[in-house]
Symmetry: D2
Subunit: 491 residues, 4 copies
């Protein structure tokens, strides 16, 4: 397994094909350091003995210990450990642990390539397995490039005025394929070893060229990243783990990029595009039942800390508001557990989470994220946005004033009060806070996407039949005794 | 295992100690038939081969097949099957399956009696085990009489002006004890074989006489029931399973009632009252993650049926509203699964569901039940309350008018439209509908009780420590890697 | 002005053309008495000196004092008094005051007939004014028959398989017209003097025959009512005003009914159908900003009464829940005031409420009604559905038990506790409660209808232009300084 | 009336007593320019002919035209124009117009000083009137310094360990008083001409020294500001009005500050502290029924703009989400109108808004603000947080990529798309967005404060009496025919 130092050293060796702030730059630009600090945790926690069982796994390919962020779940237990790993990692990261993007991409490819081969006698599964072996051995971190820029939302890929608004195959030969287009909103791409490309949606007739999947190194020829980093405010005085964390999204331009054959995992099999898109999405929504509870853990903890600072921990409306956040976290986490327990084994051996539970668990968090911030705000008060700048605490004269007058709970030192409210400002009143709000709604699919997935897979007819039986319209009732437990991802 | 016929025949043999509508009456009064019809399902489904695995179990006492409604869970799987049995039974019953009341009472007693014995060298566990053996052998159905009338809510039991406002021990001798007081809102008591009494709350110093638990036959000497039956409207024309179902609650008066020693399971061990009260409540909240999803299944099915009648099934806001009900059902059911998966084995061997998940799952349903009726109403429209009486459909002249003008979706016959809207009237616009609304909030504990239980058991401090670590206040973070999985019921 | 006795005597004189429970019956059948009791209040309160200013007005036609339920608003103040009258009447009625149905119908006709005449040189306005003069002089109570049975909701009137599924003109001659079809869900029709018919929606090309409006006496030839009465439970012991109130809806069959010319107010002018439909709907939604707050007043009062009975009035979550109900009531009432203040004078002189505010005020109540019941339930507890029958309080033996054990707040007598909980059962746990829930959503238009009306009339483009100005896309900003104050009903 | 140029020139003349970022600085530091730009609008709009009626008024003191931001409302109409002025100003400012802080302070003082004089024969009213005359003549802009730092929230002012944690009188003599303490979270103080100090709460026995009110110039001796500016991101490329706006809050230290007698408006009359605190708060909550709708106008406009960019304007869930924002805005604005209509004249002649409606209107917005952001996010999508930096649009190479790939609705130019999404980033995904979220909850009092005020003033007993009448507990009903219309602020 790689160490975080080796990961940084690998990033340093990569070609410069990343732009940010109008300039081409290296991957170790300090703008990316907050994101790199998050990925580092995934290497570091795998080395910590108390996390060994959770953050590492035995590869089903090679019987070796690997980082669980590269492991394809083979059992219910694997799914539960993956979920737990993500919650623990995200707690430590102060939010999004990022690296599950690549993990969910390889999980989806691990069974969809098998299904395509079974239908078309292609060789994607073996290619992918070779790739996976390398992925596990080198302990790679990949971004999953799914979201196309999509142009006019009312038109399908092949109907767009500009045919490049979805990524597409423009040439194909024995050695490989040439692709053109762009993916955007791609988290961690600027500091990922690899980019794994999958389709963003189901593809209809006419969309064949857009049904494409492959993997390339992040610095592959004719690939350009335009990165948009985001971070908490840099500290001038007191240090805090939260202040060292961040993220970056990229627009990735594929400018007639050649993809060698051994890295191509789908090429124009359009009727499998939905399965691959949803295979990733549903696996990722199961990941969200790990990370979103962690975000809520932090918001609940921040609220409890604010209540302690304000000496209002016992007030019943404060406890009620905190318990709402906790309830969301545990309901979503429970949905993840149920999704694992009611998962299914695919023909490839990959154990896949139940999509009904993954979708209801993820949707809840998208619906509740802004309410959780509202609860935090009610408890923490206005000081999150009115706290004077750090420099005014450092300045001798004003610092003395502030230490005298900012004191609240007399059992907490002025210094800890300041640290607490600086943290609350970061968590609740920074542009990074809005990143979490918006990612809470849209990351991994917005509530409306989960409703669509849910209603597509759910057996609503069985409920209607129950009503018809009770109403005396149908005489017999054939009850569904599995409650959706055998649902999996369909084409 | 008993049959439903044997159950009725047993009810017929009981002494008349039930009052309703100002008169003393037998247990087979037709006012109770709708409730008896529900209990009958628990006997009948246990005889159906396709439900054998779910509705029956092997007793841990006698290695015999028993009705699962009398079985003490010994494993995770038992807990999941209990939850599934309740959902399936409640679907068939068109709502509350009732018999889990007694089941959750024996579950709570099965481990709390052991804990008391371990502390005080009493013999409650053996007494209870004898009772349980009889309970399983005779396939008994018990009401759990927990809720005291409670008088002034701002005072503890021993502080009430009238000391009888909580049930209490007034005499004690070698043969047994004498109790006085009343329990109210006791579901199914009027047609239960047995009444199992447990405390309603934690008992403080001074409340010793109120810490009492025992079981008596429903027609025990010096016990009186004042019953309040509720049912769907009786049909005059079209038959429908829903219209045959109902329930009854009782005020049960214990008028200096003698309880023989072998039926006494707690007597004045006040510091175990909380454990027994919560042992029942939390087990019962786990049951609710089975039955409340069934209520939502029916509401979702009724909504879908109404949408079909109105020919608006494809409308996006209709699908959205139905998917909200479904989401609630599956989130709560998922919480029940997680509660089973993260359950714990007690010293007695009883496998107990995780209370965090049971409480968040139950709470969700209490918070959402009125919203679900609101969704049904939005889809079904006003006709639920404006549908002419059945007689006007039967009357030749007006019947013809109504058949002509009540037709909506042209693919559905007038007769089925009528059945559907008659059913919708029952489900959404009857006094029985309000029973489900109110039981949805209060049955098994209202949202505020679940919040209190949750906040008592949940490790909020761990979340605050996470915040302090991220804020730089605490240097190290000791992460809770179990997320409350080892929580159980404490005294 | 009529007295309630005269009203009853007028009802007695009417032809029997009402069916209920399979039989033809008179209008003074005791099934209708609860509804009649409500209408009586509108006559009685107009005679009470302290309500004179609110419940009576000076007619703009005859300079005489008339019952305000027959008055066409001529000023802002008239609109505010109408709203206040409805809230006061509805408080006294324990809910829906019913008679505003006819009032809003004559208001809509008072200006739409003028607009049709202005366009087509017809003589509807004069006809209607003659009718109005009679209406005011005789102090009539009319039902407004708007809602057609509508058949397949996905088709327009003229597209239905059966052309009678919307009411239509089937013949037309110098003396009048002949109509066929049915209206349903028509509140108070069974005990109304008059039926005023208006279209249910905008009419498109091809729908001309369906654009029809007229008024007939309730017992007009070839008109049949199939009534569906609803009431609170009849009391066997304690009397209570709430228990004397109720309502009835009718399906009204027009079986080739002849309408004399002088009673026809629209005939095939299809492009004015929307204006008449919405003219009624928006005026009625303004009425709802009076009656829905009254329903909330009752729910808030019931909640406060329950809190007093339970001795939990000071608990902060109880106060919070009550204040939510109060907030809804006052926000909706405020919207009604604003709707009056920002109303407009139509060419006919009728002062018409601003539809933006009327719609947002009405919508709020539709969205919140179930939440208000949920709040009541949280405070009142389960006893609303478990209270033993009245007879068991009357029975000597059980009555004594119940008086002893039902006591809660020691400052409230057992008798008042019983009255309070009997009332709470009526308000929160009866089929009449569901009537209020469903009417709260759908009466006068459901939230989705108000959203549609709102978005049709609201100047969303002005908001978008504001955004474009702030974004630097548009250089200049022309601000709307009226905020929709000049919106009225358009065709 | 002053011009914005004169205002700036006045700021330049002030003593430097403001600290920011660790340094003492002038009021025209560019960090304050965004806030000054907002205040400028209040001078500029008063000069624009089309706003004359709204932004100016005739002084009741001097019969001269004055800026309405210095005018004491004398009529209902004044209150409505004040509300409208604030909505229009806030629309133009892209949010908080700030200057109503001072306005609401002088409104509260205008009648409370009279009330104190009436009780104690003091001379505050005349002093204040002299001050007001100057305030109107010089067209001053004042900050209202109400919020004390408050220390331990569980203790009253005189119970704090450090007696300075609420501002207090430490000396008093014929010439004036000396005060010590700090106010914090004081909006616009850094660029206000004046600071008006009022108490933050009701004062109990023992708190006399803390009942103090006065006005001083912003640069008064022994006054120090520690300012915390906030602004939208500075633009590097495209200009936009939104990007020029901002705000600053201050901690204001009163370091044994002498206040001359003629500027003291309350000194130790502790039983009037509540009236002054609430007089300001309720007037300010009425102001919020102007500005909060403007914030919602902007969010609705931004959502509509995003929908246009994404070409999804017709989607029904998009329209639903926008209509929710609009509904909130208009309900709150309606509450403000009702508050004006049902206002009362105080003994001083000041016309005061009805507090019931002001509080329900303000509370709604505090409860809904995060939901409105959630709606914006659902419509606008993730690009608010993933949009590359401006420099990458300016850079030739990446700019070309971005223009090609960021295009959505084909009817909108790339340039306008970029402007729109840059604006959406500012509105929805910036630290300034969190300022609006938090100010939306807490500015002018959080929902819990409005609930407390509401429940203190509302006649809940009248609702309970209504319930008792309907229940048959009370025989007669005395109806409140004003529905709280005569409520005003009490001590």
């Amino acid at each position: 397994m790689r160490t975080s130092e080796e990961y940084t050293s690998d990033l340093e060796k990569m070609e410069e094909n990343v732009w940010v702030g109008g300039e081409k730059t290296s991957r170790t630009n300090e703008l990316f350091q907050p994101g790199i600090n998050v990925i580092n945790l995934t290497f570091e926690m795998a080395q910590e003995p108390e996390y060994e069982d959770i953050f590492t796994a035995k590869s089903h390919l090679r019987e070796e210990k690997i980082n669980r962020f590269t492991h394809i779940p083979q059992t219910q237990e694997d799914l539960m450990k993956k979920q737990k790993m993500i919650r623990l990692g995200a707690q430590r990261a102060g939010g999004c642990i990022q690296r599950c993007m690549g993990l969910d991409a390889i999980i989806a490819l691990s069974f969809v390539t098998k299904d395509i081969d079974d239908e078309y006698d292609t060789e994607y599964y073996d290619r992918f397995t070779d790739y996976l072996e390398e992925y596990q051995k080198k302990d790679l971190a990949a971004a999953c490039a799914q979201t196309d820029v999509k142009g006019d939302r009312s038109k399908r890929p092949h109907e767009q005025e500009d045919p490049d608004l979805y990524l597409r195959v423009v040439e194909e030969n024995g050695d490989g394929i040439v692709v053109k287009g762009a993916k955007h909103e791609i988290t961690m791409a600027a500091y990922a070893d690899e980019i794994i490309v999958i389709p963003t949606r189901a593809m209809a007739e006419g969309d064949e060229d857009y049904a494409v999947s492959f993997a390339v190194p992040g610095d592959h020829e004719n690939v350009r990243h335009i990165a948009r980093p985001a971070r908490y405010r840099k500290r001038k005085g007191e240090k805090a783990p939260i202040a060292e964390k961040g993220v970056a999204e990229s627009v990735i331009i594929f400018d007639r990029t050649f993809i060698p054959r051994e890295r191509v995992f789908m090429c124009k099999e359009r009727e499998f595009a939905r399965m691959l898109a949803l295979g990733f999405a549903n696996s990722h929504r199961h990941s969200y039942t790990g990370c979103k509870p962690a975000v809520s853990d932090i918001l609940a903890g921040a609220s409890a800390l604010a209540a302690e600072c304000n000496n209002i921990e016992r007030a019943s409306h404060v406890r009620e508001k905190i318990s709402e956040i906790i309830g969301n976290a545990e309901l979503s986490y429970a949905a993840g557990i149920a999704s694992a327990v009611e998962g299914t084994e695919t023909p490839s051996g990959t154990y896949f989470p139940n999509p009904i539970y993954a979708n209801v668990g993820r949707r809840l968090m998208g619906e509740e994220i802004y309410n959780e911030y509202s609860n935090l705000t009610e408890i923490a008060g206005g000081q999150m946005v009115t706290l004077p700048y750090e420099e005014d605490f450092i300045n001798e004269e004003t610092g003395e004033d502030l230490r005298k007058y900012m004191r609240r709970n007399p059992n907490i030192s002025s210094e800890d009060q300041h640290k607490a409210f600086r943290f609350l400002e970061d968590i609740g009143a920074s542009s990074m806070a809005t990143w979490y709000q918006i990612a809470g709604v849209h990351g991994g699919g917005s509530p409306i996407m989960e409703t669509i997935t849910l209603m597509a897979e759910y057996d609503t007819e069985a409920k209607k039949n129950l009503a018809k039986y009770l109403a005396g319209i149908n005489e017999n009732l054939e009850q569904d005794t599995k409650f959706g437990a055998d649902v999996t991802v369909s084409r």
